[in-house]
Symmetry: C2
Subunit: 151 residues, 2 copies
């Protein structure tokens, strides 16, 4: 991840790819002390916001396969951050929930991640930072929209 890019920076693909990768490196470093990966951090974020969730639904939220989520939850459970409770209304599924320890871990991690994001965005004026996130949000929401997808 380095080197001049010249004409490649005229294309959106390399721009998004390099930006994502550079940001990912900072995030992974920021999460270092927590023992969390970006993926397991994301799982905690979703679980806190949306309460008890099945493993499959949690996976869908992250855009990953449910078989991939197994190892993520294994890791979070070993860390004591998540509990695999049975969903009493559908005993095939779990009702995954954050433990108090998980909530505390999430707060520490979120601080570190937001700090990394701040450092990453530092070269931009505040207005541009907000505009960037707003633009990306618009694009991501429309891209997932079937209305737009067939275009």
């Amino acid at each position: 991840m380095s080197g001049r890019m010249g004409e490649l920076l005229d294309h959106l693909g390399p721009l998004l790819g390099r930006a994502h990768e550079a940001h990912r490196v900072l995030t992974v470093a920021a999460l270092q002390g927590t023992g969390l990966s970006p993926k397991s951090f994301g799982a905690l974020v979703v679980l806190e916001a949306e309460g008890p969730l099945s493993q499959g639904r949690l996976a869908a939220r992250q855009g990953i396969d449910r078989t991939t989520m197994v190892a993520v939850v294994d890791e979070l459970e070993r860390a004591g951050a998540v509990r695999r409770r049975r969903d009493e209304r559908d005993r095939r599924a779990y009702a995954l929930e954050l433990t108090d320890e998980g909530r505390a871990l999430l707060e520490r991690a979120r601080g570190a991640v937001e700090d990394a994001e701040r450092r990453f965005l530092e070269p931009l004026p505040a207005a541009d930072r907000r505009a960037l996130k707003r633009a990306l949000r618009t694009l991501v929401e429309r891209a997932g929209d079937p209305q737009t997808a067939r275009a």
Copy 2:
């Protein structure tokens, strides 16, 4: 690559990741008819802009390993788009150059890719599209800068 994201869209990582992935899907589809991958397309772009280049330098431009570039150039050579000439000033290295056929292929591919980019950015007003690319360029350039990297 679908589903509501809710609170994950507050974080820059998922935003960049989803945007990159959605754009990549469009690009791959756009390149369908050309037989090019995003990576080999990028190689053609660089070769056209920077003239004859060694395989290792071409790889460095793309931020990939030189061993990964071997297969990319194999593919481009098979397609008749690139010629592996020996560099007469250093006979270990190649002086890779576009063929006329490669130039024509690149023009077709660039049209398709730019079309895909246009469709992807469609949800944004023109001013926001320019602002987005400008912001990403700034971030990517600073992120590669050792001055910023140690921060």
